[in-house]
């Protein structure tokens, strides 16, 4: 009988849950969500790939490519903390559900020797491609 008061209050009160897909809560600012690479600042140093516990990131320094598999990622944000140029950014919203698996490919300026730096700048067309597999 101790529970009766509580049961009646819950019966007449508002539900504790949200109608989720229709109504979303503001995310907490510290939430570990989607990881993106601002590839213009990326120096392709491979630090993120080395610390990643699931090998979700692979870096091709010569081609200037940053591959990231969001389906392998466990969102531990080890890469974001390790990044020396702070080009990896984690936003506090979670990834939207998807029916197909894909890998994120970011192409930037490859890391080149100082003498060839001027040549490299010309092809710095940073673009985001989501390759469907």
């Amino acid at each position: 009988m101790y529970m009766l008061k509580n049961v009646l209050r819950n019966l007449s009160g508002k539900p504790a849950t949200r109608l989720y897909p229709l109504e979303e809560r503001e995310p907490f600012p510290a939430y570990r969500g989607v990881i993106t690479n601002e590839v213009e600042k990326c120096i392709f140093c491979n630090s993120c790939a080395r610390v990643c516990p699931t090998d979700a990131i692979t870096v091709d320094a010569k081609a200037g490519q940053w591959h990231y598999d969001p389906f392998l990622c466990v969102y531990c944000s080890a890469c974001v903390e390790k990044c020396p140029t702070k080009c990896l950014v984690q936003v506090p919203t979670h990834r939207k559900p998807s029916v197909v698996k894909f890998r994120v490919l970011r192409t930037g300026t490859p890391r080149v020797k100082k003498s060839a730096a001027a040549k490299g700048k010309e092809e710095s067309g940073a673009e985001k491609k989501a390759e469907q597999e």
């Binding site: 529970m3 570990r32 990643c52 516990p53 466990v74």
Partner: protein, 360 residues
């Protein structure tokens, strides 16, 4: 009369226990006369990953051994490695580790109290416990970034800090949780139906608890004042920690231990938040680990044990985990014979089985 014996399988899929534990019950009419366990349905081989993941990446792997006390696994692993390397995490990191560990203890115990109420058919209490558990889950998400897998521990310290306004907000949410717990105290501890279903059920005497190697609330529910936190790892030495002990040794005593541990964990968190020292969050790690180390911490379910052997490279040589549910299976098999079949879910849940932990 021997042809009246029947064998009833319990699990690996059973409505009362989402985890794959299989027990064959030999029953005579309604009375259980024998219990034969079978484990090994969720073995994932996480221990052998030490040879392919380096010791920093392993922090994220050990957190995934258990889906409910992840932070405490990482705490134990990091402490073991820190001992081996001869470093100590800074004081602020030690206090933050206690705060997150105790948050995990609270949400694990609230989850268990809900499931336990569900096991004896008290659905409204089940829902209410899970409703107030959301306060803790929100605190975890707002401070560490995730609801369950917190990923806050690293070898040498912690990765996240608490801002003063976050601490104020946390204290407010803890007050709301305290209010919710106060409303449920009478129902859980004094209600007639709850007592009928739990008192005297699954009795484990004080001597048997010790002899069979019980751990955690199962041990403390039988009158032993044994808790790894008494050894004072992390910041428990500086905090006013007192183990919760009950003497009855039945399911009711074990529920009572967990209920009061939630309240005590809230006191510990408040104390740690109020006395949070100012210091760095991490210390520098000197090279790769070399040697052997052993560490024990208190999980919500009991004593957790880590053995680590390293060889001077970044990959560890061997890691061995002993989880409290493994220790609590022999006492469970001792409690079961002689009980009635409807009491089986209550008794099985009373040790708080975490099979994913046990099999890794």
């Amino acid at each position: 009369m021997s042809n009246r014996t029947t064998v009833i399988p319990f699990g690996p899929q059973h409505p009362v226990l989402p985890e794959p534990l299989h027990i064959k019950f030999v029953v005579e009419d309604e009375t259980v006369v024998g219990a034969i366990p079978q484990l090994g349905f969720v073995h994932r081989g996480l221990e052998s990953l030490v040879r392919t993941k380096d010791y920093n990446q392993m922090v994220f792997v050990v957190e995934r051994i258990c889906g409910i006390c992840s932070c405490i696994h990482a705490n134990c692993y990091c402490n073991a490695l820190e001992n081996m390397m001869g470093i100590t995490a800074p004081p602020r990191a030690q206090f933050l580790r206690v705060i997150w560990s105790e948050l995990h203890r609270i949400h694990s115990h609230l989850l268990w109290l809900g499931l336990f109420a569900d096991a004896f058919g008290f659905e409204s209490v089940f829902q209410q416990f899970w409703r107030i558990r959301e306060h803790v889950m929100d605190i975890c998400e707002a401070t560490a970034g995730n609801r369950v897998i917190l990923s806050v521990n690293v070898v040498g310290g912690v990765r996240r800090d608490l801002a003063p306004d976050q601490i104020r907000w946390m204290l407010g949410r803890l007050d709301e949780l305290q209010k919710g717990m106060r409303e449920l105290t009478n129902t859980m501890l004094d209600d007639y139906t709850v007592q009928e279903r739990t008192r005297g059920i699954g009795y484990l005497s004080k001597d048997d608890a010790r002899l069979l190697g019980a751990a955690g609330p199962t041990l403390r529910g039988s009158g032993w004042e044994i808790d790894e936190r008494m050894h004072g790892y992390a910041a428990y030495n500086d905090l006013n920690f007192i183990p919760v002990v009950e003497n009855d040794g039945d399911c009711y005593a074990r529920a009572k231990v967990r209920f009061y541990e939630v309240l005590h964990a809230m006191d510990l968190i408040r104390e740690a938040l109020n006395r949070l020292p100012e210091s760095e969050l991490t210390v520098k790690v000197p090279g790769n680990p070399d040697g052997e180390a052993v560490f024990r911490v208190e999980q919500p379910r009991g004593e957790l044990f880590y053995y680590i052997r390293a060889n001077g490279t970044k990959y560890l040589e061997r890691m061995r985990v002993r989880t409290p549910t493994f220790a609590n299976v022999p006492p469970l098999l001792h409690m079961l014979p002689g009980c009635k079949l409807p009491d089986v879910p209550v008794i099985v849940l009373s040790i708080d089985p975490c099979i994913s932990c046990t099999e890794r």
